[in-house]
Symmetry: C2
Subunit: 194 residues, 2 copies
DNA sequence: CTAAGATACGGCGGACCCCTCCGCTTAGCA
DNA sequence: TGCTAAGCGGAGGGGTCCGCCGTATCTTAG
C-alpha cells in the first residue's frame, strides 16, 4: 500500500468516525470527503460501500467486544457470562450511533462481516450457557444478536437510549409475561436482574 | 376539499401504498408523483412529510389493529388477549414493509401519530394483564411497542421475517434465560408458547 | 540520482432525490 | 355565466451517490 494511500485511509477513518458519531449510519460520504479535504472518489476507493466504511469505523470497537467475550468465556458462571456479553453489546449498539445499523444491515456479503466476527466470539458463550441449562433450548447467537440490534434500533431516537435498551434487554431475558399456571415463580424470575 | 384535490389524494395514496410495499419506508416521493402522473409539488402538498404519507398509507391497517385490540379487551383471559395483540402487531410490522419504520420513527410531532393511536388501543390490554398479575411489574405499552418494532426492524431483511419476528417475540415474552436458582421452572415456563 | 512505470488522486458529469416557489388552470359558488 | 381562490404542475436550487479518466505522485529499478 502506497504511503499516501495509507495516509488518506487513516485520515478518512478518523473523519468518518466523527461524522458517523454525529449523524449516524447515513452520514454524508460527500461531506466526509470534503472535511478530509479529499476527492469523493478517494473515499469510494478505500471504502467501496457505505457498509464497508461503517465496519472499518467500528472495527476496533468490535474487536474490543470480541476480546471481552474471550475473557467472559473463562468466567465460572455461564449464565452471567452470556448476560454480561449481551449487555455489553446492547449498551454499545444503543450508545454508539450507527453501530446497530452496521451490525444489522448488510450481513449478506462474504469477505469480512462485523456481525460474523461478533457471532464467532459469542457462540461459545451461548453454547456453554445452553449446556449448563440456563438458556431456553434452540436459541442461537443469531437470535440474540438480532434481538439486541433490534432493541438498539428501536431505541435510537429515545433520550438516553443506553438505559432504555438495557432495560428492554433485561425484560426479554427474564420474560415479560408470567404464565398463570405458576404464579409463585413470578418474584423469583423477575427478581433476577442482569 | 375540492373534488380534484380529493381525487389526487386518493390516487396518490394508492400509488404510494404500492411503492412503499415494494421499496419500503424510503420509497422515492418523486417516483410516486411520476407514477401517479402528478407534479411533485402535489404529493408534498397532500403529505407534508414522508412520515405523514406513511401514516396515511397505513391508516386503515392501524385502525384494523386497534379494532382488534377492542375485541380482545373482551376476552376472558387477559394474558392471552395481550399476547394475541402483540403477535398481531409483530406480524404486521414484520410483514408489511415500512410499517415498523412508521411506528418507530417520528413519534415526535403532535397532530396525529400512528403509534399513539396504537398505544391508546393497547394500553387497556396492558393494564388488564398487569392487574391480573400476568405481566412483569412496571411494564408499559410503550415498552412492548418499542420491543416489537425493534424486532420487526431487525428482521426486515431476513427471509420470512414474519416467522422469525414472532419467534423472537415469543422468546422475549417467556424469557430466554433461566434463573439457575429454580431449574424446575424451566419446562413450565418455556412450554408455554404464544 | 534519475527516469519510467505503477498507483492513487481529484473532480467532472450524469442520474437521482428532496424541497420551495410561483404562474397558471380550473372547480365551485353566486 | 363569470369570478375567485384553491389546487396544480414543474422549473430551479441544493444535495447525494456513483463511475470514470486525465493527471499528479510515489516507488523502484537502473
Amino acid at each position: 500500500m502506497r504511503a499516501d494511500a495509507r495516509r488518506n485511509y487513516e485520515l478518512l477513518l478518523a473523519v468518518a468516525a466523527e461524522a458517523v458519531a454525529e449523524h449516524g449510519a447515513d452520514a454524508s460520504l460527500e461531506q466526509i470527503a470534503r472535511t478530509a479535504g479529499v476527492g469523493s472518489g478517494t473515499v469510494r476507493r478505500h471504502f467501496p460501500t457505505r457498509h464497508a466504511l461503517l465496519e472499518a469505523v467500528f472495527r476496533e470497537r468490535i474487536d474490543a467486544l470480541c476480546a471481552h467475550a474471550g475473557e467472559l468465556a473463562r468466567r465460572p458462571d455461564p449464565r452471567a457470562a452470556l448476560v454480561d456479553f449481551l449487555i455489553a453489546i446492547t449498551r454499545a449498539a444503543a450508545t454508539i450511533r450507527g453501530l446497530a445499523e452496521a451490525l444489522n444491515r448488510g450481513r449478506t456479503e462474504g469477505v469480512y462481516c462485523a456481525s460474523d466476527q461478533l457471532a464467532e466470539a459469542g457462540e461459545p458463550l451461548v453454547r456453554r450457557a445452553a449446556e449448563a441449562g440456563v438458556l431456553a433450548p434452540g436459541i442461537t447467537f443469531a437470535d440474540l444478536s438480532t434481538l439486541v440490534t433490534g432493541i438498539a434500533l428501536a431505541t435510537e431516537n429515545d433520550r438516553d437510549p443506553g438505559t432504555t435498551a438495557t432495560r428492554l434487554l433485561s425484560l426479554a431475558m427474564t420474560g415479560f409475561t408470567v404464565t398463570p399456571q405458576e404464579p409463585h415463580t413470578t418474584q423469583a424470575t423477575f427478581g433476577t436482574r442482569a
